[in-house]
């Protein structure tokens, strides 16, 4: 369906209490900071957040966590030198953590977007990550069964969009954005610029417009 072009506050009104929200970015690269700030203001709580990290410093995701809006984090690397907000909540037993190897995080969201019911993955075999999980030996190699991670809403940052919703990214800020866009019922993209239809090279579009519901222009 057609892609809406609106402001951050209107866009994040799509998030409901209890939702699973996929949040793009690897560190600050590709982090949709304006959308996260709008989500904090919006007030939705009891959220499950899927993102590679669990917030840095006191802003962005860390501020969302500090505001008590997040019930559960699904991420690969919560512990960082400046992840004191998450660390405090975790040690106090106030937040649930599902630790997922980074590639499984990406592939499980891809599976959700691609209609794959589950997949056998070699990552983590023989480690505590695989304990108690269903495994299978295929052609002599052991795999763990992994299930999709679906989002109700994805908040991502891209570089330029056209008005249809096609997206291109910039350098390693691409990271989780294209995968999350496929895995959520509603995808909201914060972009530096919205171009006219026809301005993007069709060979270079990374996220086709079909995956994008809402665009928010945040010039940089």
């Amino acid at each position: 369906m057609r892609t809406d072009i609106t402001d951050a506050r209107t866009a994040v009104a799509a998030v409901r209490d209890g939702d699973t929200v996929l949040v793009g970015g690897f560190g600050m690269a590709g982090m949709p900071v304006t959308l996260i700030d709008a989500l904090i203001e919006h007030g939705a709580g009891d959220l499950t957040i899927v993102s590679n990290n669990a917030g840095n410093g006191d802003t962005g995701l860390a501020a969302l966590l500090a505001a008590g809006r997040v019930r559960k984090m699904i991420c690969s690397f919560p512990r960082q030198s400046d992840s004191w907000v998450f660390d405090g909540l975790y040690r106090a037993g106030k937040i649930e953590l599902e630790l997922v190897p980074q590639g499984n995080l990406a592939e499980r969201m891809r599976a959700a977007g691609a209609g794959i019911g589950a997949f056998y993955c070699p990552t983590g075999v023989g480690t505590t990550i695989a304990e108690g999980r269903e495994t299978r030996v295929i052609d002599g190699r052991e795999y763990v069964l992994e299930f999709p991670i679906r989002g109700d809403v994805a908040l991502i940052r891209a570089h330029v969009a056209d008005r249809l919703g096609n997206l291109v990214y910039r350098k390693t800020a691409r990271n989780f954005g294209p995968v999350m866009a496929t895995a959520a019922a509603v995808t909201i993209a914060e972009v530096s610029r919205i171009a006219d239809v026809g301005d993007l090279d069709p060979e270079a579009v990374v996220t086709p417009s079909i995956y994008v519901n809402t665009l928010v222009e945040v010039p940089r």
Partner: protein, 206 residues
Amino acid sequence: MSLDKDELARLIARDIPSGAYVNLGIGQPTAVARYLDPSSGVVLHTENGMLGMGEVVPAEQADPDLTNAGKQPVTELPGAAYFHHADSFAMMRGGHLDVCVMGAFQVSATGDLANWHTGAPDAIPAVGGAMDLAVGAKEVWVMMTLFTKQGEPKLVPSCTYPLTGKACVTRVYTELATFHITPTGVEIAETFGVSPEEIRSRLTIF
């Protein structure tokens, strides 16, 4: 009056929601593209890796690198995007297409689709992307004649031809009537030149 093929294509084009992402199957459904209002914002997908496909063009305008799923030369519209086959079928299987329109040998009253194999023992099977579309699109619409040349109904209680997908068809467009397949049964949505009663009497699904 029953509808001719062009009228049927126009009817389907009219029913496609504004802004929908749509895959039109090989053969007759391709003609639906001709009747889409450009201002509707409908975006066409082709499984060989493109969104924003334009119309079929004659051979003298053909670009051999730009074809639809039936391998006919087509154009690229502004706002198009190309992607590889795994990404294209991820888009289909993942439930992102709003509508696909396919032909059929048979459709059952519960929405089973048979459109890939006649079941003839000497036939060489070829399935292409039909099964992927059947399980993937949010709505699967079928465009077909209501009866075979021998007068047998093609909307049937249960398919006798090998299935393409189970319980996937939501609408059937034919020259005599359009049908909606709902959880509670088949509904006649519209008839053309015949009465609903006559349609009911000629089918065994009600």
